[in-house]
């Protein structure tokens, strides 16, 4: 699934990484626990999370995760966006809950990693 399709399904705001919207992703992983995120090994994975702070971006950087979807209207701060841009990440924000976002994306074909 293209990131642009994820954005459309989530009615998401594209915070940064507009130039990567045509890239494909295959997997989704939802967690607010960064140590769990650091255990993922898949590529082409989008992190669905309600934890919006600098460590979310750092965790994505370390775990080689390039796509982040913040749920329940959690907003990326300027500092977070700056760090995300530095790491060439795509960051999306949606008002959907983690459950709803995960359900819709699962149904649309994204697969789990565990």
């Amino acid at each position: 699934m293209k990131i642009s399709e994820v954005a459309k399904l989530m009615n998401a705001r594209i915070v940064c990484g507009e130039h990567r919207l045509e890239e494909e992703i295959k997997h989704g992983f939802g967690s607010d626990l960064m140590s769990d995120v650091l255990r993922t090994e898949a590529e082409q994975l989008i992190l669905i999370t309600g934890l919006a702070n600098l460590q979310t971006i750092r965790t994505a950087e370390m775990a080689d995760i390039e796509f982040i979807l913040f749920v329940r209207d959690k907003k990326a701060t300027d500092e977070m966006v700056e760090l995300a841009k530095e790491n060439n990440l795509v960051v999306l924000e949606t008002s959907n809950s983690m459950f709803k976002a995960s359900g819709i994306l699962f149904q649309a074909g994204l697969t789990p990693v565990f």
Binding site: M34, S35, L38, M62, E79
Partner: protein
């Protein structure tokens, strides 16, 4: 080749800076992506541990052609029971640490599974020394 980073306890804004720098360095040296990820995940968890639990610490990175050695030494409360600290799910993290998305008792186990060798020594009320080794060809 040796590099050194200072880490301040409680400074969650900068937590991960050293790990990020080491990641850039390993990329420049063309280390395999899988190995880079193992190293930086372990280092990041360990760096967060210093920020979460200690007053201050130093990270020493030593690179040779075969391996990377990371020594993280902190001044802090120390770990009274290392076996307990190694158990998945055991945590003494503060609510502030949990708010940052950590403190679930997975840090030390995550570190161990990403490196080839891990040595943890600690003295209560003095500090903790963590030595990690990862071979590049593993």
């Amino acid at each position: 080749m040796q590099v050194k980073y200072q880490v301040e306890g409680g400074d969650f804004t900068s937590a991960g800076y050293a790990s990020s720098q080491v990641k850039k360095l390993l990329k420049q040296l063309n280390v395999a992506p899988k190995v880079i990820k193992n190293v930086v995940v372990a280092l990041y968890e360990a760096e967060v541990n210093i920020v979460a639990h200690a007053y201050r610490g130093v990270i020493e990175v030593e690179l040779d052609p075969q391996k990377i050695t990371l020594v993280l030494e902190d001044e802090g409360p120390g770990i009274p029971n290392i076996d307990l600290a190694m158990q998945e799910g055991f945590s003494t993290a503060s609510p502030a640490v949990r708010e940052m998305g950590f403190g679930a008792g997975m840090g030390l186990p995550n570190i161990k599974r990403n490196v080839d060798d891990m040595q943890l020594e600690s003295q209560v009320d003095k500090g903790t020394r963590l030595t990690l080794i990862k071979f590049f060809n593993a």
